[in-house]
Subunit: 193 residues, 2 copies
């Protein structure tokens, strides 16, 4: 960003004026690091979090080169990271006429970011499971038709069928839970401060 300032720090005369700048930079860095750290809780890597924090603090979209510069990581890695972020719905590519490079921006609202991560995370799991349960349930019903089924086995199969049903219910609940967040209904019951 304002790197010319940083270079002046060694100059004696301007030193006093620079001191606050350095401190501010330090606070900003700490904030970004904290955001990066927290991202583990959301199930994404530290680097994703760091990039999120950097763009967030920058207040406007950034290019891969700028991100690379800011993180000290390769441009390739930045490309990978922003793609992951776009997939997770926590960043978006923005077009700006006259600028050839891709620009990426992030949501400025914490709450929305939380919801995006929460929902994209769970939605994936929900979809995978609904399919699976159907397949399993069919498999079990098929076993029930076998005529060499002992009493004990039949009991077991029915138990598993019940299990499968409950599992499916649970995922239906999760699905509703995701809606509950995505629609913003959650804020009616847990209001923002």
């Amino acid at each position: 960003m304002v790197h010319w300032l940083l270079k002046l720090v060694t100059g004696r005369v301007i030193h006093l004026v620079e001191q606050p700048f350095v401190k501010i930079k330090h606070v900003e860095d700490q904030l970004v690091e904290k955001i990066a750290d927290n991202m583990h809780t959301y199930g994404v890597s530290t680097t994703v979090g760091r990039v999120l924090g950097i763009i967030y603090m920058n207040r406007k979209a950034m290019t891969l080169d700028e991100l690379s510069e800011a993180t000290g990581m390769s441009k390739t890695r930045m490309s990978q990271v922003v793609r992951e972020m776009v997939d997770l719905n926590i960043a978006e590519k923005v077009f700006e006429k006259g600028i050839r490079k891709d620009l990426y921006n992030v949501e400025q609202d914490y709450y929305q970011t939380f919801i995006s991560l929460f929902t994209s995370n769970w939605q994936k799991a929900i979809n995978k499971n609904k399919m699976f349960e159907k397949k399993l349930s069919a498999e079990l019903k098929n076993i029930l038709e076998s005529d060499t089924l002992s009493e004990e086995m039949e009991l077991k199969v029915n138990d598993l069928l019940k299990e499968t049903k409950e599992w499916l219910d649970y995922y239906q609940w999760l699905s509703r839970l995701v809606d509950f967040f995505e629609s913003g209904e959650i804020f009616m019951h847990v209001p923002k401060p």
Copy 2:
């Protein structure tokens, strides 16, 4: 569990009777694997998920040796895994008189498991952040008192103070969100099917 049955599979006479057993076992395994897989979404490793699934399907507490046998992993690993699970509040050590080995059991209610993982996960992050914000806020106020502060810098610091405040608010919200789940209030608004 019922390993003696498995051993019979090669016997020709009992083969027809065993077929369903093998199929049932297969379904159970698939279920456990699915649970294990899903656990990624909760932010825990596959093995933790697998162990959860195994104990869950077993319907009663298991020892480290049994888990080791069931997963094919070392007892040491099982020790590590159950500890992690206890920390996450998704398993508990149970005592049974006459049995020397430690027994571990898991919650049989999916919903409760979800909540345990959700809350233990976030509670950790919340605690870490509350401290941090206080520290940062103090640091910023300190900078404000510097007399070599340019107009621009002062603006910046105030901006960061506001940022910090919002961040704190957000974590307060998360804290309430955790309560909302932990207290079971969530089920009043997103009822179980």
